[in-house]
Protein backbone atom coordinates (compact mmCIF):
# COMPACT_ATOMS: atom_id res chain seq x y z
CA UNK A 1 0.00 0.00 0.00
CA UNK A 2 1.30 3.44 -0.92
CA UNK A 3 2.45 5.41 2.12
CA UNK A 4 3.85 8.45 0.33
CA UNK A 5 2.76 9.94 -2.96
CA UNK A 6 3.86 12.97 -4.93
CA UNK A 7 1.41 13.80 -7.70
CA UNK A 8 2.13 16.10 -10.63
CA UNK A 9 4.22 18.46 -8.49
CA UNK A 10 5.26 21.79 -9.97
CA UNK A 11 7.58 24.25 -8.24
CA UNK A 12 10.10 26.99 -8.88
CA UNK A 13 11.71 30.20 -7.68
CA UNK A 14 10.51 33.66 -8.68
CA UNK A 15 9.76 33.65 -12.38
CA UNK A 16 11.69 30.44 -12.99
CA UNK A 17 9.87 27.12 -13.07
CA UNK A 18 12.04 24.20 -11.99
CA UNK A 19 9.71 21.21 -11.69
CA UNK A 20 7.13 20.43 -14.32
CA UNK A 21 4.75 17.81 -12.96
CA UNK A 22 6.83 15.32 -11.00
CA UNK A 23 5.20 12.21 -9.57
CA UNK A 24 6.52 9.37 -7.41
CA UNK A 25 5.33 6.91 -4.78
CA UNK A 26 6.87 4.99 -1.90
CA UNK A 27 5.45 2.23 0.26
CA UNK A 28 6.32 1.29 3.82
CA UNK A 29 9.83 -0.19 3.97
CA UNK A 30 10.72 0.78 0.41
CA UNK A 31 13.94 2.49 -0.57
CA UNK A 32 13.41 4.76 -3.57
CA UNK A 33 16.14 6.57 -5.47
CA UNK A 34 16.07 9.81 -7.44
CA UNK A 35 19.07 10.57 -9.62
CA UNK A 36 19.86 13.28 -12.07
CA UNK A 37 22.49 15.77 -13.12
CA UNK A 38 23.15 19.12 -11.45
CA UNK A 39 20.27 21.53 -11.90
CA UNK A 40 17.74 18.77 -12.58
CA UNK A 41 15.56 19.98 -9.70
CA UNK A 42 16.30 17.24 -7.16
CA UNK A 43 16.76 19.51 -4.14
CA UNK A 44 13.84 21.68 -5.27
CA UNK A 45 11.69 18.56 -5.30
CA UNK A 46 12.54 17.81 -1.67
CA UNK A 47 12.18 21.47 -0.73
CA UNK A 48 8.69 21.57 -2.23
CA UNK A 49 7.71 18.32 -0.48
CA UNK A 50 8.78 19.55 2.98
CA UNK A 51 7.37 23.03 2.49
CA UNK A 52 10.52 25.15 2.26
CA UNK A 53 10.01 25.80 -1.46
CA UNK A 54 6.63 27.02 -2.62
CA UNK A 55 4.60 24.56 -4.67
CA UNK A 56 2.96 25.84 -7.86
CA UNK A 57 0.77 22.86 -8.40
CA UNK A 58 0.22 19.20 -7.66
CA UNK A 59 -0.14 17.42 -4.34
CA UNK A 60 1.82 15.51 -1.74
CA UNK A 61 0.07 12.76 0.23
CA UNK A 62 1.30 11.10 3.39
CA UNK A 63 -0.67 8.02 4.32
CA UNK A 64 -3.61 9.35 2.29
CA UNK A 65 -3.54 12.82 3.90
CA UNK A 66 -2.85 15.79 1.65
CA UNK A 67 0.09 17.64 3.20
CA UNK A 68 0.62 20.07 0.31
CA UNK A 69 1.19 23.64 1.45
CA UNK A 70 1.51 22.80 5.13
CA UNK A 71 4.25 24.48 7.16
CA UNK A 72 7.60 22.63 7.36
CA UNK A 73 7.33 22.11 11.12
CA UNK A 74 3.84 20.62 10.74
CA UNK A 75 4.99 18.30 7.96
CA UNK A 76 7.73 16.93 10.24
CA UNK A 77 5.17 16.30 12.97
CA UNK A 78 3.01 14.41 10.50
CA UNK A 79 5.89 11.99 9.96
CA UNK A 80 7.99 13.22 7.06
CA UNK A 81 11.60 14.18 7.78
CA UNK A 82 14.35 15.51 5.57
CA UNK A 83 18.11 15.10 5.91
CA UNK A 84 19.18 18.13 3.89
CA UNK A 85 22.08 18.39 1.48
CA UNK A 86 25.27 19.37 3.27
CA UNK A 87 23.82 17.79 6.44
CA UNK A 88 23.14 21.17 8.11
CA UNK A 89 23.95 19.95 11.57
CA UNK A 90 24.34 22.60 14.25
CA UNK A 91 28.12 22.63 14.51
CA UNK A 92 28.24 24.80 17.62
CA UNK A 93 26.02 22.41 19.60
CA UNK A 94 26.98 19.01 20.98
CA UNK A 95 25.92 15.73 19.42
CA UNK A 96 23.27 15.12 22.05
CA UNK A 97 21.96 18.68 21.72
CA UNK A 98 21.57 18.14 17.98
CA UNK A 99 19.67 14.92 18.63
CA UNK A 100 17.47 16.63 21.21
CA UNK A 101 16.51 19.25 18.64
CA UNK A 102 15.41 16.43 16.36
CA UNK A 103 12.94 15.37 19.04
CA UNK A 104 11.02 18.63 18.47
CA UNK A 105 9.31 17.06 15.49
CA UNK A 106 7.98 14.00 17.34
CA UNK A 107 4.29 13.36 17.62
CA UNK A 108 4.73 10.99 20.55
CA UNK A 109 6.59 12.85 23.30
CA UNK A 110 6.60 9.80 25.58
CA UNK A 111 8.84 7.84 23.28
CA UNK A 112 11.75 10.30 23.30
CA UNK A 113 14.06 8.23 25.48
CA UNK A 114 13.45 5.12 23.39
CA UNK A 115 14.04 7.04 20.17
CA UNK A 116 17.42 8.28 21.40
CA UNK A 117 18.37 4.76 22.48
CA UNK A 118 17.45 3.38 19.06
CA UNK A 119 19.59 5.85 17.16
CA UNK A 120 22.48 5.23 19.54
CA UNK A 121 22.13 1.51 18.74
CA UNK A 122 22.06 2.25 15.02
CA UNK A 123 24.93 4.75 15.16
CA UNK A 124 27.17 3.73 18.09
CA UNK A 125 29.71 6.40 17.16
CA UNK A 126 27.22 9.02 18.33
CA UNK A 127 27.27 7.52 21.83
CA UNK A 128 31.04 7.76 21.90
CA UNK A 129 30.90 11.42 20.87
CA UNK A 130 27.74 12.26 22.80
CA UNK A 131 29.05 15.46 24.39
CA UNK A 132 31.44 16.48 21.62
CA UNK A 133 30.82 19.54 19.51
CA UNK A 134 29.07 18.35 16.36
CA UNK A 135 31.18 20.60 14.14
CA UNK A 136 34.28 18.68 15.20
CA UNK A 137 33.00 15.32 13.92
CA UNK A 138 34.27 13.84 10.66
CA UNK A 139 32.11 14.11 7.54
CA UNK A 140 30.83 10.56 7.90
CA UNK A 141 30.03 11.03 11.55
CA UNK A 142 28.21 14.27 10.76
CA UNK A 143 26.16 12.46 8.14
CA UNK A 144 25.26 9.79 10.68
CA UNK A 145 24.28 12.52 13.12
CA UNK A 146 22.12 14.23 10.50
CA UNK A 147 20.32 10.96 9.76
CA UNK A 148 19.97 10.14 13.45
CA UNK A 149 18.61 13.62 14.15
CA UNK A 150 15.92 13.09 11.54
CA UNK A 151 15.17 9.57 12.82
CA UNK A 152 14.48 10.59 16.42
CA UNK A 153 11.40 12.41 15.12
CA UNK A 154 10.11 8.92 14.28
CA UNK A 155 9.37 9.64 10.60
CA UNK A 156 7.27 7.35 8.46
CA UNK A 157 9.02 8.76 5.40
CA UNK A 158 12.66 9.79 5.44
CA UNK A 159 14.03 11.96 2.63
CA UNK A 160 17.79 12.22 2.16
CA UNK A 161 19.38 14.80 -0.12
CA UNK A 162 22.80 13.68 -1.38
CA UNK A 163 23.79 11.62 1.67
CA UNK A 164 27.07 10.56 0.01
CA UNK A 165 28.22 14.12 -0.64
CA UNK A 166 31.82 14.66 0.45
CA UNK A 167 32.22 11.18 1.92
CA UNK A 168 34.85 8.54 1.10
CA UNK A 169 33.63 5.31 -0.57
CA UNK A 170 34.05 3.27 2.61
CA UNK A 171 32.06 5.75 4.64
CA UNK A 172 29.41 5.94 1.91
CA UNK A 173 28.97 2.17 2.05
CA UNK A 174 28.60 2.35 5.81
CA UNK A 175 25.99 5.11 5.57
CA UNK A 176 24.00 3.24 2.90
CA UNK A 177 24.07 0.04 4.95
CA UNK A 178 22.37 1.98 7.75
CA UNK A 179 19.81 3.40 5.32
CA UNK A 180 18.93 -0.10 4.17
CA UNK A 181 18.48 -1.10 7.82
CA UNK A 182 16.22 1.91 8.37
CA UNK A 183 14.09 0.96 5.36
CA UNK A 184 13.90 -2.65 6.55
CA UNK A 185 12.54 -1.42 9.87
CA UNK A 186 9.49 -0.08 7.99
CA UNK A 187 10.37 3.53 7.14
CA UNK A 188 9.94 4.58 3.52
CA UNK A 189 13.31 6.02 2.46
CA UNK A 190 13.67 8.32 -0.54
CA UNK A 191 17.21 9.24 -1.55
CA UNK A 192 18.33 11.92 -3.96
CA UNK A 193 21.79 11.15 -5.33
CA UNK A 194 24.12 12.24 -8.07
CA UNK A 195 25.96 8.91 -7.89
CA UNK A 196 23.49 6.95 -9.98
CA UNK A 197 25.30 3.59 -9.69
CA UNK A 198 25.21 3.68 -5.96
CA UNK A 199 21.53 4.25 -5.45
CA UNK A 200 20.29 2.25 -8.46
CA UNK A 201 22.01 -0.83 -7.08
CA UNK A 202 20.18 -0.56 -3.75
CA UNK A 203 16.79 1.05 -4.44
CA UNK A 204 13.63 -0.80 -5.43
CA UNK A 205 13.07 1.88 -8.06
CA UNK A 206 15.24 4.76 -9.13
CA UNK A 207 13.67 7.69 -10.91
CA UNK A 208 15.74 9.80 -13.26
CA UNK A 209 14.96 13.50 -12.89
CA UNK A 210 16.19 15.69 -15.68
CA UNK A 211 15.16 19.24 -16.60
CA UNK A 212 12.43 19.18 -13.97
CA UNK A 213 10.70 16.03 -15.22
CA UNK A 214 10.88 12.34 -14.37
CA UNK A 215 12.47 10.97 -17.53
CA UNK A 216 12.86 7.29 -16.69
CA UNK A 217 12.58 4.69 -13.96
CA UNK A 218 15.37 2.22 -13.36
CA UNK A 219 15.45 -1.07 -11.47
CA UNK A 220 18.25 -2.76 -9.52
CA UNK A 221 19.10 -4.82 -12.60
CA UNK A 222 19.75 -1.66 -14.61
CA UNK A 223 22.63 -0.77 -12.29
CA UNK A 224 24.87 -3.16 -14.21
CA UNK A 225 23.85 -1.78 -17.60
CA UNK A 226 26.22 1.15 -18.11
CA UNK A 227 24.70 2.20 -21.42
CA UNK A 228 21.13 2.24 -20.15
CA UNK A 229 22.17 4.11 -17.03
CA UNK A 230 24.07 6.74 -19.02
CA UNK A 231 21.23 7.13 -21.51
CA UNK A 232 18.71 7.61 -18.74
CA UNK A 233 20.95 9.98 -16.80
CA UNK A 234 22.13 12.21 -19.63
CA UNK A 235 19.37 11.73 -22.17
CA UNK A 236 19.36 9.73 -25.36
CA UNK A 237 22.78 10.87 -26.53
CA UNK A 238 24.43 9.22 -23.57
CA UNK A 239 26.89 12.09 -23.26
Amino acid sequence: MTLFEVKDLRAGYGKVDVLFGVSLTASKGELIGIVGPNGAGKSTLFGAIVGTVGMRGGSVFLDGEDISGKRPEDIVRLGLSLVPEGRQIFGGLSVIENLTLGLTGRRDKHGEKGALERVHDLFPVLTTHRDHQAGMLSGGQQQQLAIARALVADPRVLLLDEPSLGLSPTVVKDVFDRLIAIAESGTAVVIVEQRAHLVTRLAERTHVLRAGKMQATLTKEDAADEAKLAAAYFGNSGE
Partner: protein, 339 residues
Protein backbone atom coordinates in the same frame (compact mmCIF):
# COMPACT_ATOMS: atom_id res chain seq x y z
CA UNK B 1 16.55 14.69 29.74
CA UNK B 2 19.44 16.47 28.08
CA UNK B 3 19.44 19.59 30.18
CA UNK B 4 22.80 19.63 31.87
CA UNK B 5 23.57 22.14 34.57
CA UNK B 6 27.25 23.00 34.46
CA UNK B 7 27.58 24.61 37.85
CA UNK B 8 30.74 26.57 37.11
CA UNK B 9 29.09 28.27 34.11
CA UNK B 10 26.50 29.67 36.50
CA UNK B 11 28.61 30.19 39.62
CA UNK B 12 31.46 31.95 37.82
CA UNK B 13 29.36 34.92 36.67
CA UNK B 14 27.37 35.02 39.92
CA UNK B 15 30.50 35.11 42.05
CA UNK B 16 31.96 37.87 39.88
CA UNK B 17 28.81 39.98 40.19
CA UNK B 18 28.55 39.42 43.96
CA UNK B 19 32.25 40.13 44.45
CA UNK B 20 31.97 43.34 42.41
CA UNK B 21 28.90 44.40 44.36
CA UNK B 22 30.50 43.95 47.75
CA UNK B 23 33.94 45.25 46.76
CA UNK B 24 32.62 48.47 45.26
CA UNK B 25 29.23 48.94 46.90
CA UNK B 26 30.38 48.90 50.50
CA UNK B 27 33.15 51.45 49.92
CA UNK B 28 31.07 54.62 49.81
CA UNK B 29 27.70 56.07 48.93
CA UNK B 30 29.05 56.75 45.45
CA UNK B 31 30.20 53.11 45.19
CA UNK B 32 26.76 51.93 46.26
CA UNK B 33 25.12 54.03 43.55
CA UNK B 34 27.56 52.69 40.94
CA UNK B 35 26.83 49.10 41.97
CA UNK B 36 23.08 49.49 42.05
CA UNK B 37 22.85 51.27 38.72
CA UNK B 38 25.27 48.74 37.17
CA UNK B 39 23.12 45.88 38.40
CA UNK B 40 20.00 47.52 36.98
CA UNK B 41 21.75 47.92 33.63
CA UNK B 42 23.05 44.37 33.88
CA UNK B 43 19.52 43.01 34.26
CA UNK B 44 18.68 44.83 31.03
CA UNK B 45 21.78 43.35 29.37
CA UNK B 46 20.60 39.91 30.52
CA UNK B 47 17.25 40.61 28.88
CA UNK B 48 19.06 41.41 25.64
CA UNK B 49 21.18 38.28 26.01
CA UNK B 50 18.06 36.11 26.30
CA UNK B 51 16.71 37.34 22.98
CA UNK B 52 19.47 38.98 20.93
CA UNK B 53 22.27 36.74 22.17
CA UNK B 54 20.40 33.49 21.70
CA UNK B 55 18.46 34.26 18.53
CA UNK B 56 21.00 36.43 16.70
CA UNK B 57 18.19 38.88 15.87
CA UNK B 58 19.06 42.45 16.81
CA UNK B 59 16.57 44.39 18.92
CA UNK B 60 16.65 48.12 19.58
CA UNK B 61 13.23 47.89 21.17
CA UNK B 62 13.99 46.53 24.61
CA UNK B 63 14.18 50.05 26.00
CA UNK B 64 10.42 50.12 25.41
CA UNK B 65 9.87 47.19 27.79
CA UNK B 66 12.16 48.83 30.35
CA UNK B 67 10.13 52.02 29.95
CA UNK B 68 6.85 50.19 30.59
CA UNK B 69 8.38 48.40 33.58
CA UNK B 70 9.83 51.59 35.04
CA UNK B 71 6.64 53.62 34.70
CA UNK B 72 4.43 50.75 35.91
CA UNK B 73 6.54 50.30 39.01
CA UNK B 74 7.15 54.02 39.47
CA UNK B 75 3.57 55.17 39.27
CA UNK B 76 2.29 52.65 41.82
CA UNK B 77 5.10 53.22 44.32
CA UNK B 78 4.98 57.01 44.26
CA UNK B 79 2.99 57.99 47.38
CA UNK B 80 -0.60 59.10 46.69
CA UNK B 81 -0.16 62.47 48.37
CA UNK B 82 2.71 63.30 46.02
CA UNK B 83 0.70 62.15 43.02
CA UNK B 84 -2.21 64.34 44.17
CA UNK B 85 -0.16 67.48 44.59
CA UNK B 86 2.49 67.12 41.94
CA UNK B 87 2.05 69.56 39.12
CA UNK B 88 3.29 67.15 36.45
CA UNK B 89 0.86 64.46 37.64
CA UNK B 90 -2.28 66.58 37.80
CA UNK B 91 -3.77 64.92 34.71
CA UNK B 92 -3.11 61.37 35.90
CA UNK B 93 -6.04 58.91 35.72
CA UNK B 94 -7.71 59.00 39.17
CA UNK B 95 -7.34 55.26 39.69
CA UNK B 96 -3.58 55.64 39.24
CA UNK B 97 -3.49 58.42 41.82
CA UNK B 98 -5.06 56.15 44.41
CA UNK B 99 -3.20 52.99 43.42
CA UNK B 100 -0.35 52.25 45.80
CA UNK B 101 1.77 49.12 45.95
CA UNK B 102 4.90 48.16 47.82
CA UNK B 103 8.26 47.81 46.12
CA UNK B 104 8.07 44.08 45.42
CA UNK B 105 4.49 43.93 44.10
CA UNK B 106 5.48 46.87 41.89
CA UNK B 107 8.43 44.89 40.52
CA UNK B 108 6.08 42.02 39.70
CA UNK B 109 3.88 44.55 37.92
CA UNK B 110 6.94 45.77 35.98
CA UNK B 111 7.77 42.22 34.94
CA UNK B 112 4.19 41.67 33.78
CA UNK B 113 4.14 44.99 31.91
CA UNK B 114 7.36 44.14 30.06
CA UNK B 115 6.16 40.63 29.27
CA UNK B 116 2.76 41.74 28.00
CA UNK B 117 4.12 44.49 25.76
CA UNK B 118 6.83 42.17 24.42
CA UNK B 119 4.39 39.28 23.99
CA UNK B 120 1.88 41.35 22.04
CA UNK B 121 4.40 43.20 19.88
CA UNK B 122 6.34 39.97 19.37
CA UNK B 123 3.37 38.39 17.60
CA UNK B 124 4.16 40.74 14.71
CA UNK B 125 7.85 41.47 15.17
CA UNK B 126 8.96 37.85 15.36
CA UNK B 127 8.01 37.36 11.73
CA UNK B 128 10.93 39.61 10.75
CA UNK B 129 14.62 38.95 10.35
CA UNK B 130 17.84 40.91 10.00
CA UNK B 131 17.62 44.59 9.14
CA UNK B 132 13.82 44.57 9.04
CA UNK B 133 13.69 43.24 12.61
CA UNK B 134 16.19 45.85 13.80
CA UNK B 135 14.25 48.71 12.24
CA UNK B 136 10.88 47.43 13.45
CA UNK B 137 12.10 47.06 17.04
CA UNK B 138 13.56 50.57 16.82
CA UNK B 139 10.14 51.79 15.73
CA UNK B 140 8.66 50.07 18.78
CA UNK B 141 11.06 52.03 20.98
CA UNK B 142 9.96 55.22 19.25
CA UNK B 143 6.29 54.38 19.78
CA UNK B 144 6.82 53.70 23.50
CA UNK B 145 8.85 56.88 23.88
CA UNK B 146 6.10 58.95 22.33
CA UNK B 147 3.39 57.27 24.38
CA UNK B 148 5.08 58.21 27.64
CA UNK B 149 6.47 61.55 26.48
CA UNK B 150 3.16 62.90 25.24
CA UNK B 151 0.64 61.25 27.53
CA UNK B 152 0.27 62.78 30.97
CA UNK B 153 -2.73 60.58 31.87
CA UNK B 154 -0.43 57.64 32.59
CA UNK B 155 2.66 59.43 33.81
CA UNK B 156 4.46 62.76 34.04
CA UNK B 157 4.79 63.11 30.24
CA UNK B 158 8.05 64.84 29.42
CA UNK B 159 8.69 65.58 33.09
CA UNK B 160 10.20 63.30 35.71
CA UNK B 161 8.32 61.07 38.10
CA UNK B 162 9.91 61.80 41.47
CA UNK B 163 10.15 60.34 44.95
CA UNK B 164 10.29 56.67 44.05
CA UNK B 165 11.23 54.57 47.07
CA UNK B 166 14.81 53.29 46.94
CA UNK B 167 15.91 49.74 47.79
CA UNK B 168 16.01 49.44 51.56
CA UNK B 169 18.95 47.09 51.79
CA UNK B 170 22.18 46.82 49.87
CA UNK B 171 21.53 43.13 49.19
CA UNK B 172 18.13 43.58 47.51
CA UNK B 173 19.28 44.44 43.96
CA UNK B 174 22.11 41.92 44.31
CA UNK B 175 19.68 39.12 45.15
CA UNK B 176 17.28 40.19 42.39
CA UNK B 177 20.13 40.17 39.88
CA UNK B 178 21.30 36.71 40.96
CA UNK B 179 17.74 35.38 40.60
CA UNK B 180 17.57 36.81 37.06
CA UNK B 181 20.98 35.30 36.25
CA UNK B 182 19.72 31.91 37.41
CA UNK B 183 16.55 32.23 35.31
CA UNK B 184 18.53 33.33 32.25
CA UNK B 185 20.99 30.47 32.61
CA UNK B 186 18.23 27.89 33.06
CA UNK B 187 16.51 29.23 29.94
CA UNK B 188 19.80 28.98 28.05
CA UNK B 189 20.24 25.29 28.84
CA UNK B 190 16.56 24.44 28.42
CA UNK B 191 15.31 22.87 25.23
CA UNK B 192 13.72 26.18 24.22
CA UNK B 193 17.04 27.96 24.71
CA UNK B 194 18.97 25.41 22.70
CA UNK B 195 16.37 25.42 19.99
CA UNK B 196 16.64 29.19 19.78
CA UNK B 197 20.42 28.99 19.43
CA UNK B 198 19.97 26.39 16.71
CA UNK B 199 17.75 28.80 14.77
CA UNK B 200 20.51 31.41 15.11
CA UNK B 201 23.08 28.97 13.79
CA UNK B 202 21.06 27.74 10.84
CA UNK B 203 17.60 29.27 10.33
CA UNK B 204 17.07 27.16 7.21
CA UNK B 205 17.74 23.81 8.85
CA UNK B 206 15.58 24.45 11.90
CA UNK B 207 12.13 24.12 10.23
CA UNK B 208 13.23 20.82 8.70
CA UNK B 209 13.42 19.48 12.25
CA UNK B 210 9.90 20.58 13.11
CA UNK B 211 11.08 23.75 14.83
CA UNK B 212 8.81 26.79 14.54
CA UNK B 213 11.32 29.66 14.50
CA UNK B 214 8.64 32.24 15.16
CA UNK B 215 7.37 30.37 18.21
CA UNK B 216 10.76 29.92 19.91
CA UNK B 217 11.70 33.51 19.16
CA UNK B 218 8.41 34.72 20.59
CA UNK B 219 8.96 32.78 23.82
CA UNK B 220 12.41 34.33 24.21
CA UNK B 221 11.19 37.80 23.25
CA UNK B 222 8.44 37.67 25.87
CA UNK B 223 10.80 36.38 28.55
CA UNK B 224 13.36 39.03 27.68
CA UNK B 225 10.60 41.66 27.76
CA UNK B 226 9.72 40.57 31.29
CA UNK B 227 13.35 40.82 32.39
CA UNK B 228 13.74 44.20 30.67
CA UNK B 229 10.65 45.39 32.54
CA UNK B 230 12.31 44.41 35.80
CA UNK B 231 15.60 46.01 34.75
CA UNK B 232 13.80 49.25 33.93
CA UNK B 233 12.02 49.26 37.29
CA UNK B 234 15.25 48.55 39.16
CA UNK B 235 16.92 51.42 37.32
CA UNK B 236 14.05 53.70 38.34
CA UNK B 237 14.24 52.75 42.02
CA UNK B 238 18.01 53.16 42.07
CA UNK B 239 17.70 56.65 40.59
CA UNK B 240 14.61 57.47 42.64
CA UNK B 241 13.07 58.97 39.53
CA UNK B 242 11.69 57.96 36.14
CA UNK B 243 11.99 60.05 33.04
CA UNK B 244 11.21 58.74 29.59
CA UNK B 245 14.52 60.01 28.16
CA UNK B 246 16.40 57.76 30.59
CA UNK B 247 15.27 54.69 28.63
CA UNK B 248 15.73 55.97 25.12
CA UNK B 249 18.77 56.01 22.83
CA UNK B 250 21.72 56.32 25.27
CA UNK B 251 20.24 53.54 27.43
CA UNK B 252 19.68 51.31 24.39
CA UNK B 253 23.14 52.06 23.02
CA UNK B 254 24.84 51.49 26.38
CA UNK B 255 23.20 48.15 27.14
CA UNK B 256 23.66 46.81 23.60
CA UNK B 257 27.33 47.86 23.76
CA UNK B 258 27.77 45.98 27.02
CA UNK B 259 26.29 42.86 25.47
CA UNK B 260 28.25 43.02 22.23
CA UNK B 261 31.58 43.92 23.86
CA UNK B 262 31.26 41.06 26.36
CA UNK B 263 29.86 38.50 23.94
CA UNK B 264 26.13 38.23 23.46
CA UNK B 265 25.87 34.47 23.20
CA UNK B 266 26.67 33.68 26.83
CA UNK B 267 25.78 34.66 30.37
CA UNK B 268 29.50 35.08 31.00
CA UNK B 269 29.79 37.45 28.05
CA UNK B 270 26.89 39.59 29.30
CA UNK B 271 28.50 39.71 32.75
CA UNK B 272 32.00 40.55 31.58
CA UNK B 273 30.70 43.11 29.08
CA UNK B 274 28.64 44.94 31.67
CA UNK B 275 31.43 45.10 34.24
CA UNK B 276 34.07 45.98 31.66
CA UNK B 277 32.11 48.84 30.14
CA UNK B 278 31.11 50.06 33.62
CA UNK B 279 34.71 49.94 34.84
CA UNK B 280 36.18 51.70 31.82
CA UNK B 281 33.28 54.15 31.81
CA UNK B 282 33.85 55.07 35.46
CA UNK B 283 37.58 55.62 34.94
CA UNK B 284 36.92 57.84 31.93
CA UNK B 285 34.22 59.71 33.83
CA UNK B 286 36.67 60.44 36.63
CA UNK B 287 39.12 61.74 34.04
CA UNK B 288 36.43 63.92 32.50
CA UNK B 289 35.68 65.30 35.97
CA UNK B 290 39.40 65.76 36.70
CA UNK B 291 39.28 63.46 39.71
CA UNK B 292 42.55 61.79 40.73
CA UNK B 293 43.06 58.12 39.88
CA UNK B 294 45.78 56.60 42.06
CA UNK B 295 46.89 60.13 42.84
CA UNK B 296 47.19 61.16 39.21
CA UNK B 297 44.85 63.65 37.56
CA UNK B 298 44.28 63.18 33.85
CA UNK B 299 41.92 65.59 32.15
CA UNK B 300 39.80 64.34 29.31
CA UNK B 301 37.22 66.44 27.50
CA UNK B 302 33.56 65.80 28.22
CA UNK B 303 32.05 63.10 26.02
CA UNK B 304 35.25 61.02 25.87
CA UNK B 305 33.52 58.17 27.68
CA UNK B 306 30.76 57.85 25.07
CA UNK B 307 33.28 58.11 22.22
CA UNK B 308 35.54 55.41 23.70
CA UNK B 309 32.62 53.04 24.24
CA UNK B 310 31.37 53.67 20.69
CA UNK B 311 34.84 53.06 19.25
CA UNK B 312 35.21 49.91 21.37
CA UNK B 313 31.96 48.69 19.90
CA UNK B 314 33.20 49.33 16.36
CA UNK B 315 36.50 47.59 17.10
CA UNK B 316 34.68 44.57 18.55
CA UNK B 317 32.31 44.34 15.61
CA UNK B 318 35.22 44.54 13.18
CA UNK B 319 37.66 42.15 14.76
CA UNK B 320 35.92 40.18 17.45
CA UNK B 321 32.23 40.17 16.75
CA UNK B 322 31.54 37.45 19.31
CA UNK B 323 32.91 39.62 22.12
CA UNK B 324 35.85 39.40 24.50
CA UNK B 325 34.59 36.07 25.84
CA UNK B 326 34.00 34.77 22.30
CA UNK B 327 30.45 34.05 23.43
CA UNK B 328 31.64 31.21 25.65
CA UNK B 329 30.38 30.42 29.10
CA UNK B 330 32.69 30.66 32.11
CA UNK B 331 35.00 27.72 32.54
CA UNK B 332 37.71 27.38 35.16
CA UNK B 333 41.14 27.81 33.61
CA UNK B 334 39.74 29.47 30.50
CA UNK B 335 41.91 32.34 29.32
CA UNK B 336 39.15 34.93 29.14
CA UNK B 337 40.83 37.47 26.92
CA UNK B 338 42.71 35.09 24.67
CA UNK B 339 43.14 36.25 21.08
Amino acid sequence: MTTRLRLQELLGPILLVVAFSYAVGLQSAQGLLIVQSTLALFVMVLALHVFVGNSGVLSFGHGAFAMFGAFASGIVTTPSNIKEHSLQLQHLYPFLVNLNLGMYPSLVLAILAGAIVAGLSGLLLMRLNGLAAGIATFALLGVAYNIFFNNNRIGPGSQALLALPPFQFFEEPVVLTVIVMLAVYLFGISRAGRTLRATREDPLAAPALGISIMRVRWIAFTLSGAIAGLGGAMFAHVAGTVQVQDYYLPYTFMTLSMLIIGGGASLWGATVGTLLVTGIGQILLMMEQQKPILGIVVHLPNGTRAIVIALSLVVMLLWRSDGVTKGREFKLGMPKLRK
